[in-house]
């Protein structure tokens, strides 16, 4: 037995109150972890964006297309190693029309060279390239669509009306967290040849792989300069910049999540503070006894703060223990499968775990300081008189 273990034992003195407090704090921690994971998952696409890729789109808007011939020009720009293109297709599964997933018509010859983090067995790539109606889907999307390699899939076009038939030729996985594993890609030729003559040979955007990531800005400017005098001008930027500009649209939302996180921490502080203050009030007489035996005010502070630390630790462990199944296996899976474009990797970061644990303990200490200080300031006779 020592001063610290004595403090720890006091935590379980009023079990019902301690359990309720631990549960309350644990729920607050789950909410905190969830919100922080939204923020980190949101930024993961930026953090893990390839540094050696430059995207080029219409200067006016994403939704406006570029002439296909631009790809040849871009491939000729100095510093560009390879380039590919894609079009947003915007089809949906007629069996589940409310379920969104990204689907692109891509250049099957070059797309996987530029996006080499999409892992597909070479035999499947070859089968896909050989099949005009071939498609490759991410493993997460394959699960939610219930398709396997060799299956036939019909999608309903929204931008390009009609039923579109695809043969699933491969399932891709990813080597990088930022990759959305809920995408479907298919031959751009299949789309292009199905369009009326007047709409053919238009591409949504290009992505170029460059030799030197440090020259991304310079190469972007070089690409845009090339098309300055053309009818259709371009806007090029690194993949990281592109993701950043996309994320910037949601800055306010992320700020709101930060504010809610702070509110949750305040609730956590009040919960812990209330429990600790009640415990201290009930045990004032005991602190008087300890002081009578020769313990000093600093020992009383140690008892109270130590108890708060133990309470914070238990609540922190319980909260994090609850967070993992809720976030990683419940909501996280759901978001990855249904909102993979926004949350390709919705998992709890170790830094979030450490922060939640640290905050639970830190807030426990903060919440205990005032009651501890007050209890330590009482004279021995006043403390003894509380119940005696």
């Amino acid at each position: 037995m020592n001063v610290v273990s004595l403090a720890a034992r006091n935590v379980l003195r009023n079990r019902t109150r301690t359990i309720l407090t631990v549960l309350g704090v644990a729920v607050a921690i789950v909410a905190f972890v969830l919100l922080r994971t939204v923020v980190t998952a949101w930024n993961v696409a930026v953090d893990y964006a390839a540094k050696d890729r430059v995207a080029t789109r219409h200067k006016v808007s994403f939704v406006m297309t570029l002439p296909k011939r631009y790809i040849d020009t871009i491939r000729g720009v100095r510093g560009v190693r390879a380039a590919t293109w894609a079009n947003w297709f915007g089809a949906r599964d007629p069996r589940n029309p409310d379920s969104f997933f990204a689907n692109f018509a891509v250049d099957h010859r070059s797309y996987l060279d530029v996006f080499d983090e999409m892992q597909v067995p070479p035999a499947d790539v070859a089968a896909w390239k050989a099949d005009r109606r071939g498609a490759i889907v991410g493993d997460v999307l394959a699960r939610s669509l219930g398709v396997r390699k060799g299956d036939r899939l019909t999608l309903e076009g929204t931008i390009f009306p009609g039923n579109w038939e695809f043969n699933i030729r491969g399932i891709y996985t990813a080597t990088r967290r930022s990759v959305d594993r809920s995408q479907l890609i298919f031959h751009w030729d299949y789309l292009n040849e199905s369009l009326p003559e007047s709409r053919r040979d238009q591409i949504g955007w290009t992505v170029a792989r460059i030799d030197d990531p440090s020259r991304a800005a310079e190469i972007s400017r070089a690409i845009d300069r090339t098309f300055d005098s053309q009818d259709v001008q371009t806007l090029s930027m690194s993949e990281r910049q592109l993701n950043n500009s996309f994320m910037a649209m949601f800055d306010t939302l992320l700020d709101a999540l930060d504010i809610i996180s702070i509110i949750i921490l305040a609730i956590l502080l009040l919960l812990l503070g209330n429990t600790i203050a009640m415990g201290v009030r009930e045990r004032t007489n005991e602190y008087g006894v300890l002081r009578a035996l020769g313990f000093l005010p600093r020992h009383v502070v140690t008892f109270i703060v130590g108890e708060a630390v133990v309470l914070g630790l238990i609540a922190g462990v319980a909260g994090i223990g609850l967070s993992y199944p809720v976030v990683e296996y419940g909501l996280g899976r759901f978001l990855e499968e249904n909102m993979g474009g926004f949350f390709p990797y919705f998992r709890i970061e170790p830094t979030t775990t450490v922060a939640a644990m640290g905050l639970a303990v830190f807030l426990g200490v903060v919440a205990s300081l005032v009651p501890a200080f007050r209890a330590s300031r009482l004279t021995v006779t006043d403390a003894l008189r509380r119940l005696d």
């Binding site: 003195r13 300890l290 000093l296």
Partner: protein, 225 residues
């Protein structure tokens, strides 16, 4: 019994203040307890006996006057010095035992020894010895809720003697006990006085308890009678 007083209060005043109101409790009190005595303090509520006990025990300081206990002048000591004095020289016995419910009997007895430099093994041995003295060696692993009132008070007495203090101060030690348990506790206090030569100052309302003391002093309105 030595003739030299172990407790000597000279011209002691104690006044409490409640806002602007002053409440005098002791007024020019002179009081002595010879070394090895067993003194009972009696008096009506508000007569100042608990205040006197607190001054002797170093829990409080006088407003005026001198309090010498075990050769130390307590009125000039700082809070930390008083705490060290209490830890080394005083054993406390309270009316309602005041054991910590989360600790076993042995751990409760060990509590004052946490302030010493003794190792865990030595602390345990001393706590067991003190429990043996009060006849509760068999109950050392029991929590207070598993003990009777009389047994709890005997554990509290073991806690009071574990660091071998010179003086035991007891504030209504039998106030919460039935007659049989009260007699056992008083018997024990008598043995501690005669066999272990502990000086005991006991506040009590119980004449039967006071009879066990060698001397009974009566206090009324802050003055000895």
């Amino acid at each position: 019994m030595s003739a030299e007083p172990i407790v000597k209060l000279s011209a002691v005043n104690k006044t409490y203040f409640r806002g602007s109101e002053s409440i005098p409790v002791l007024d020019g009190l002179d009081f002595e307890v010879p070394d090895g005595a067993f003194q009972a303090l009696m008096g009506p509520s508000g007569s100042g006996k608990s205040t006197l006990l607190h001054l002797i025990a170093g829990l409080d300081r006088p407003t005026k006057g001198s309090v010498q206990v075990a050769g130390k002048e307590l009125s000039k000591m700082s809070d930390a010095e008083l705490a060290a004095f209490r830890a080394n020289h005083i054993g406390f016995i309270f009316q309602s035992y005041n054991l910590l419910p989360v600790l076993t009997a042995q751990e409760n007895v060990e509590l004052p020894l946490l302030l010493t430099k003794l190792g865990r093994g030595e602390r345990k041995t001393r706590a067991q010895t003190a429990l043996r003295v009060v006849g509760l060696e068999e109950r050392m692993g029991h929590y207070p809720r598993q003990l009777s009132g009389g047994q709890e008070q005997r554990v509290a007495i073991a806690r009071a003697i574990v660091n071998d203090p010179q003086i035991l101060v007891a504030d209504e030690p039998t106030g919460d006990l039935d007659r049989k348990s009260a007699d056992d506790v008083l018997e024990l206090l008598g043995r501690l006085n005669t066999e272990l030569k502990k000086t005991i100052v006991m506040v009590t309302h119980d004449p039967a308890a006071a009879e066990r003391a060698t001397v009974t002093r009566h206090l009324n309105k802050g003055a000895l009678q």
